[in-house]
Amino acid sequence: MEWPAFWVSLRLALWTVVLLLPAAVAIARALAWHRFPGRFVLEALIALPLVLPPSVLGFYFLVAFDPQAPLGDWLRRWTGTTLVFSFPGLVAASLIYSLPFAVQPLLRAFEAIPVSVREAAWCCGLSGWRTFWRIELPLVRNGLLAATALTFAHTLGEFGVVLMVGGNIPGRTRTLAVAIYDRVQAFDETGAATMAAVLLGFSLVVVIAVHALERRR
């Protein structure tokens, strides 16, 4: 069992959830309640990672953030670091790749809130922020839990993008999914089976816990 790879996977999943959920809430809320030109294009772009092969996404990510490319060069000059083959790069790629898994459940949840409930809150004197905090957020609670579970579990098992963007640097970008692949390549089936079982068990526990929370409501 490669514990460093497990911790990299766990850190990656947690960072993705923490950074992605607030953005997903804002995006889903805007898509649910605002009609603007190009809305459908935006929805399609968000859903794109669902159908795009991870290697394609990883390839474009590498191309964009290569220190020789304008964007990568700009980032290196401003931050002194590069996203390619680094943990922050893994997180950035994961944010894009997991976007639909976070946005879709939240979008459905926001769409389910009747307009009159929000209007009633305004007529009760609640500001836009208080309406969001006291009314909207509690009402999309189940969507939020589903988005958390899906994003977490999906990131934990990510393979293609991780391998393309992060490479396979032990302790930094080598995740459990990549480690399992390595072990299989090395004909170490016992090691691969142990890690696969850990990944399966952990994902299962997270998803069951989230569903249990959802049902308690």
Partner: protein, 358 residues
């Protein structure tokens, strides 16, 4: 505390309405679906932004330079579907609308829940309440923030008949406690008649007539208003003679004498109406003095009994295509042994006949 509204808009629903509602007064907005009643309430609440001017209690809510958001309008709005916050208890639903400290909000919420007869249900969630209870929570929530105007959007439409009757009585009692303008949107004329002081008839976004309820229902300004307030006896006629006290009205079934209440009508074509209560049935057993006034003979073509009343539809002998509607107490219908096909005599009481310019 007076509400003055003068709004115009072309879309999404056309609107051109000027109205005024005084403190403690209830103004019922009636009209068919899609006529703009709810849109008008939404404009007053600040949920839509029309052009025009809205002033309440001396404070400008809307004019060319300002448009206050709903939060700053001191409006109590009861939505048609009540729009309760489903994740909050009854007490929290009401307390959330009350400004000030939490302790004060909870005390005010409890007080209003007691006033709308919901004491004991504070900890329930909205989904466990009946339609009538939800309506009362919505009302308490609208009133707890001491609004400057109360807006009711068909508040009784989602409850059963029995609950509706009880809620109307409660609303009539509650009205005496609150000295603010109340606007009631309703389809139900009976409801408007029972609760409101004044009636505003809206159609296709235009205000057709407003005035005391009895006046609008008995003296509609036009055939359009008459149809909208469900006056069934509307006919075409012609004023053929006028003197100081009466005029002579010719219509399909003869000539009627109409006492003049106000100014003299010009000679020529008019529309006229008479409420069912203004048609007197000639007793078949004992002729009365009233039988001499605008008598008319005809045959009963329809007869419906409900709630102790009998609705009779009569085809006049002289104009068999016309239909006159009468409302009679059931005992009168039974005593006269009324039945479909029976020939009867009626009098069209002149003081109930209302002429409308065509």
């Amino acid at each position: 505390m007076t509400l003055e509204v003068s709004v115009r808009q072309a879309s999404p629903v056309p609107l051109a309405v000027d109205l005024r509602c005084g403190a403690g007064e209830m103004l019922a907005l009636v009209g068919p679906s899609g006529s703009g009643k709810t849109t008008l309430l939404r404009c007053i609440a600040g949920l839509q932004r029309p052009q025009g001017r809205i002033v309440c209690d001396g404070q400008v809510w809307l004019d060319r330079h300002c448009c206050l958001p709903p939060q700053r309008r001191r409006v109590g709005l009861v939505f048609q579907d009540y729009a309760l916050f489903p994740h909050l208890t009854v007490l929290e639903n009401v307390a959330l609308a009350c400004p000030g400290s939490r302790r004060r909000a909870l005390a005010a919420a409890r007080d209003w829940l007691r006033r709308v007869h919901l004491a004991g249900l504070e900890d329930r969630l909205p989904r466990t309440l009946s339609g009538g209870q939800k309506q009362r929570v919505a009302l308490a929530r609208a009133l707890v923030r001491e609004p400057a105007v109360l807006l009711l959007d068909e508040p009784f439409s989602a409850v059963d008949q029995v609950t509706r009757r009880r809620l109307r009585l409660e609303m009539a009692a509650l009205r005496r406690e609150i000295a603010i303008p109340v606007l009631l949107v309703t389809h139900d004329l009976e409801e408007a008649e029972m609760l409101a002081d004044r009636l505003a008839v809206i159609h296709r976004g235009r205000l057709l007539q407003q005035g005391p309820v009895a006046e609008v229902l008995q003296r509609p300004a036009s055939v359009e208003v008459a149809r909208l307030v469900d006056i069934r006896n509307v006919f075409r006629g012609e004023v053929v003679a006028v003197d100081a006290a009466t005029c002579r009205l010719r219509w399909a079934a003869g000539v009627l004498t109409v006492p003049l209440a106000g100014r003299q009508p010009p000679l020529g074509p008019v529309d006229w109406c008479i409420p069912p209560a203004g048609i007197l049935l000639h007793s078949r057993c004992r002729p009365s003095r009233g039988a001499r006034e605008n008598p008319l003979h005809g045959r009963i073509v329809e007869l419906v009994r409900f709630s102790g009343r009998t609705q009779v539809v009569l085809a006049p002998q002289a104009a068999p295509d016309c239909r006159l509607h009468l409302d009679l107490p059931q005992h009168v219908a039974e005593r006269n042994r009324l039945a479909v096909g029976l020939a009867v005599g009626v009098s069209l009481l002149g003081r109930f006949i209302h002429l409308m310019p065509r």
